[in-house]
């Protein structure tokens, strides 16, 4: 029993302070991303959610250059990016794709410049890696309070606009007829998304930001159509994937002889991806089970006639 326990939790897992910080920050980010992610997936704005991650990364590299705190850069440019996307035409479904693409292209150009200057000034080695991939293990306990505040801000915004947002997402016509300010609700949601994505990219890196935003929410929406259940399931999947990923990363140092671990983003993404596929499988099983009792009499019909 003890042997199995030490196999699963390699020695020192619960004593390591980077692991503590990663578990706390990872958990908060997973919950915030999952809640905003459910709306992102339902509104079909995955591209926007991903693009905001890259936009905020440009802000992060700019802040590194200007000497601000990276968090200010990440969240600040993310909010500006969300505003520009909305101005160009996020609200129209057709123009949304293009608007997101144009903003993303410009932001990538900016980060090319910032990272180049960062690298050639030599002050910050590893800036490209750090900004583009990031790692949950590099976060310090000092960032926890900022993460909590920004996370609460994003969640609070979503909670305030939750009901009109849901109506505007599911049926914009009815929402408009009821006098819901669709544009305003959409902007509020985009701002919450920008804060949430900026927060998750600075705390966990750009890859995990998109993975935790889209993966758990999409998996949960495959399981249930009820909004409250979907949000709850998304949070559970997100937190479970993050913690399992952290554990696997820690353990991976002990696999093989090389004493060389794999990055945490790899494990978390892999768990999220597998859970998305599993949820698809479960929902298809459920759908066929529901469909068969209805289909059976029809299928049996000709046989009975023949008999």
């Amino acid at each position: 029993m003890h042997q199995i326990y030490t196999r699963v939790f390699e020695p020192g897992f619960f004593a390591s302070s980077p692991v503590h910080v990663a578990i706390v920050i990872g958990g908060i980010v997973a919950v915030v991303s999952a809640v905003t992610g459910v709306f992102t997936v339902m509104r079909g704005q995955s591209f926007g959610g991903h693009a905001l991650g890259d936009v905020s990364a440009a802000g992060g590299s700019g802040a590194l250059l200007a000497g601000f705190s990276p968090i200010a850069g990440f969240v600040g440019l993310g909010i500006v990016g969300a505003g520009v996307m909305d101005l160009i035409g996020v609200q129209r479904l057709r123009g949304r794709d293009l608007a997101t693409g144009i903003v993303l292209g410009a932001a990538i150009g900016l980060s090319a410049l910032f990272l180049y200057v960062d690298a050639s000034s030599g002050a910050t080695t590893g800036a490209t890696q750090q900004i583009l991939f990031g790692s949950i293990f590099t976060a310090t306990s000092a960032t926890i309070s900022v993460v909590v505040i920004l996370g609460a801000l994003a969640l609070g915004t979503v909670a305030v606009v939750c009901r009109p947002l849901l109506l505007a997402t599911v049926s914009p016509d009815i929402a408009a007829a009821r006098g819901v300010p669709i544009r305003l609700v959409g902007v509020a949601y985009m701002l919450a998304l920008a804060v949430s994505v900026g927060l998750s990219s600075v705390a966990t890196g750009a890859i995990l930001s998109t993975a935790l935003l889209i993966g758990p929410a999409a998996a949960a929406l495959r399981l249930t159509r009820r909004m409250s259940w979907a949000v709850l399931a998304a949070c559970l999947i997100g937190v479970a994937a993050t913690w399992l990923g952290i554990l696997l990363t820690y353990d991976s140092y002990y696999w093989g002889r090389s004493r060389q671990g794999l990055p945490v983003s790899f494990f978390i993404v892999a768990v999220v991806f597998v859970s998305y596929l599993l949820c698809g499988l479960v929902s298809r099983r459920a759908a066929t089970r529901r469909a068969t009792p209805a289909a059976r009499p029809a299928a049996a019909g000709p046989d009975q006639v023949a008999a």
Partner: protein, 273 residues
């Protein structure tokens, strides 16, 4: 600027730009900006994998961009398309992060794969890049009618027996080929800017598809040429100029379209009065 070490740069940019212009025209028309961003960015992981295995970068890029295209196509059959793209992208990037953790790849090389390194183009790269470019253009030519039909009026295309899903996969493969050839030159992230900015600008200038495609090629060529010249003069990364010029071209196109619209309204008003 036209010194001998720059000749290959100008040549390769002149091959890349028309391909980006033509493929990008359909990217904008179909609203496939997300896959067009995801495939090159994910293909970057292939380059990291190729470095780990010691095979050619172009091979790694080609394999991973094709994997990405097929992955997006397969996942997108069931479930939402944008979700499928996002998940395929993060999965490829996660693999890339895992590969990078195992190699001793030097940071500037990662940077140049992501943001492009036009000044280091060797003559041996010209041939495979031109072949892939010709393959992309040929692919678009073969697919031209069904692709156009299924992009503009999907219902009519279905009624005529054109399988939307099959066309989508074929188109994603063309995007993947375009990606593999352009990533070593303009970088994984900036090929996207080149596939979005010029075609979007062209589309806001004219509604006629043939003319829009030609305009898109022309704007892409001008963008790349100006970007190389500016990058040579100011010694800033070419990626910045491509991204900025793409956005400027789109902004100018939109402004021109808005100005023309108000003018027609005014002319119509004057005629009516």
């Amino acid at each position: 600027m036209f010194a001998s070490f720059m000749i290959n740069t100008w040549l390769i940019a002149t091959i890349v730009a028309p391909v980006a212009g033509v493929v990008g025209f359909f990217v904008v028309l179909r609203g496939s900006a997300f896959p067009a961003h995801a495939i090159p960015k994910g293909a970057f992981a292939g380059a990291a994998g190729a470095a780990l295995l010691g095979v050619s970068t172009l091979l790694g890029l080609a394999v991973f961009s094709l994997l990405g295209a097929l992955g997006i196509g397969t996942l997108g059959r069931r479930g939402r398309h944008d979700v499928a793209t996002a998940l395929a992208l993060v999965m490829m990037l996660a693999l890339g992060a895992a590969f990078l953790s195992r190699t001793t790849e030097y940071e500037p090389e990662i940077y140049s794969l992501l943001f492009g390194e036009v000044l280091g183009v060797s003559s041996t790269e010209l041939l495979p890049v031109s072949c892939l470019g010709v393959a992309c253009i040929a692919g678009v030519m073969v697919l031209y009618r069904p692709l156009m039909l299924s992009s503009v009026v999907p219902d009519v295309a279905e009624a005529r027996g054109i399988r939307g899903h099959r066309i989508e996969i074929c188109f994603l493969i063309v995007v993947a080929l375009a990606t593999a050839m352009t990533v070593p030159v303009v970088g994984a992230l900036l090929i996207f800017s080149l596939m979005i900015g010029p075609p979007a600008a062209a589309r806001s200038l004219t509604a006629r598809p043939g003319l829009a495609m030609l305009l898109s090629i022309a704007i892409a060529l001008v963008t790349v040429w100006v970007a190389i010249a500016a990058s040579y003069v100011y010694n800033w990364p070419i990626g910045f100029f491509v991204g900025a010029l793409g956005a400027v071209a789109y902004g100018a196109g939109r402004a021109w379209a808005a100005w023309r619209r108000t003018r027609t309204v005014r002319v119509a008003g004057a005629v009516a009065a």
